[in-house]
């Protein structure tokens, strides 16, 4: 049986597939699960209304992240958003056994807490580059800021994270070396 390309349906399916990453980015922007959900839904709706604007062969995630950021900025202009819940409330529960896992678990929570305390501009730059794996230039495009600004924010954010998690970072590096 041969399934042919589905055009808009396929694009819709790809958007659904990207929902976890879209929502994670929305969480970084809004810091609130409820607002993140609303932002993702609004952004998905906008993307689906404007499928003709997406160029086939380019990165869909990049296009969607731009839309999320635009919708979020528009929302901020329209109304001052209240930030009701911090990212560090979302504790990771994947590490459950063993002292090393427990230690890693604690460290990741501390990293999340340190990340949540960074200035928002630094958070966004760090998220796009360190978590999503975008290049500096792509992150600058997404955030609509000069490349130098992204580099500066990244460096300040990474240094701040390093300072706030130095002890545990050293510990986790040692743990990894021992396991490998």
């Amino acid at each position: 049986m041969q399934i042919v390309p589905l055009g808009q349906i396929e694009l819709g399916r790809q958007i659904v597939d990207l929902l976890p990453r879209m929502r994670r980015f929305a969480l970084v922007l809004t810091r609130s699960p409820d607002m993140a959900d609303d932002l993702v839904q609004s952004s998905a709706a906008r993307a689906l209304e404007r499928t003709a604007q997406w160029e086939d062969g380019t990165r869909l995630d990049h296009w969607l992240f731009r839309i999320i950021k635009t919708v979020w900025l528009n929302g901020r202009k329209a109304a001052r958003l209240r930030q009701t819940e911090c990212l560090d409330d979302h504790a990771d529960s994947s590490a459950t056994d063993g002292s090393a896992a427990m230690e890693a678990h604690m460290t990741l929570n501390e990293v999340r807490a340190a990340f949540a305390r960074l200035p928002e501009d630094q958070q966004r730059a760090l998220f796009l580059v360190s978590v999503e794996g975008y290049s500096y230039r792509q992150a600058a495009e997404l955030l609509d800021v000069p490349l130098g600004t992204v580099i500066s924010r990244l460096a300040r954010g990474r240094v701040a994270l390093a300072q706030r998690t130095t002890d545990n970072t050293d510990r986790i590096v040692v743990l990894r070396r021992n396991r490998s």
């Binding site: 349906i9 659904v16 990293v111 978590v131």
Partner: protein, 257 residues
């Protein structure tokens, strides 16, 4: 050798692999001579790795089912409004005594829920159309080739209408229906007793579970199975002994005709 003025901005860019080859080489030379600098790079690199892990847990990549459902519905393409179809659906729902609240799509498992939803809708359709005798279908079996091409185009799926005479079913023809604004092909057969059996193919927005599902709805038996963006449903009298065998062959039997 040239000595670079190295600051944290350069070290972070180095750790992220964002420096040009020449500068990268120069930094590497200085790192080789300065263990403290090398340690700082390792620390900065580790923060990036840790941050990625910290924000990649289940909680951070989880999508609430309600959000997934809303977006999946948005992702379904809009189709022109067809009053006759709405009337048929409402009639079918009334005939079946449907509980609309239980029939909403996208439950906890969207892949399984989409099949269950399509099966519900097809059961309702079947309740309306199977009672027809003189006008069982609009496009008769004689136009089998046309049906395959036309419905295949609408469903975006190349398939062959199965010959089920070995299973006591004669092909009568087909029609195009819709569920959630997406096309459904209804291939209608009749058994030796004249009771209709429908083999349906539905296009859906998400992915459907390949696990065969069976449900009995009064005198009707329904079988559903997914493959990619398509759901295959067989519906007919529960008393027909051939239905489970035919259902087990879905969707492969649509390859051989």
């Amino acid at each position: 050798m040239r000595c670079l003025p190295i600051d944290d901005i350069m070290l972070v860019a180095f750790a992220d692999g964002e420096l040009d080859p020449t500068t990268t080489w120069l930094v590497e030379q200085q790192l080789a001579r300065d263990p403290a600098l090398a340690e700082r790079v390792a620390l900065l690199r580790a923060t990036g790795t840790l941050l990625r892990e910290a924000l990649s847990g289940r909680d951070h990549l989880a999508v609430p089912p309600a959000l997934a459902s809303r977006v999946a519905r948005l992702a379904q393409p809009r189709r022109p409004w067809r009053p006759w179809l709405a009337a048929a659906m409402v009639g079918g729902l009334l005939l079946a005594g449907a509980n609309l609240a239980d029939r909403l799509p996208f439950n906890a498992d969207p892949a399984r829920a989409s099949i269950a939803h399509v099966m519900d809708e097809i059961a309702d359709y079947h309740g309306v159309f199977a009672s027809e005798r003189e006008h069982l279908v609009e496009i008769p079996a004689e136009r089998k080739d046309h049906l395959q091409a036309w419905l295949g185009d609408r469903l975006q799926l190349a398939f062959k209408i199965p010959d089920l005479r070995d299973h006591g079913l004669d092909f009568q023809g087909g029609r195009l229906l819709a569920v959630d604004r997406l096309p459904v092909a209804q291939l209608m057969y009749t058994g030796k007793d004249g009771i209709p059996v429908a083999l349906c193919i539905a296009l859906i927005a998400g992915d459907a579970s390949p696990v065969l599902q069976r449900r009995d709805d009064g005198d009707l038996a329904l079988f559903g199975r997914g493959q990619g963006h398509h759901v295959f449903v067989l519906v007919g009298p529960a008393s027909n002994k051939y239905l489970p065998d035919i259902a087990n062959m879905m969707p492969e039997l649509l390859n051989r005709g």
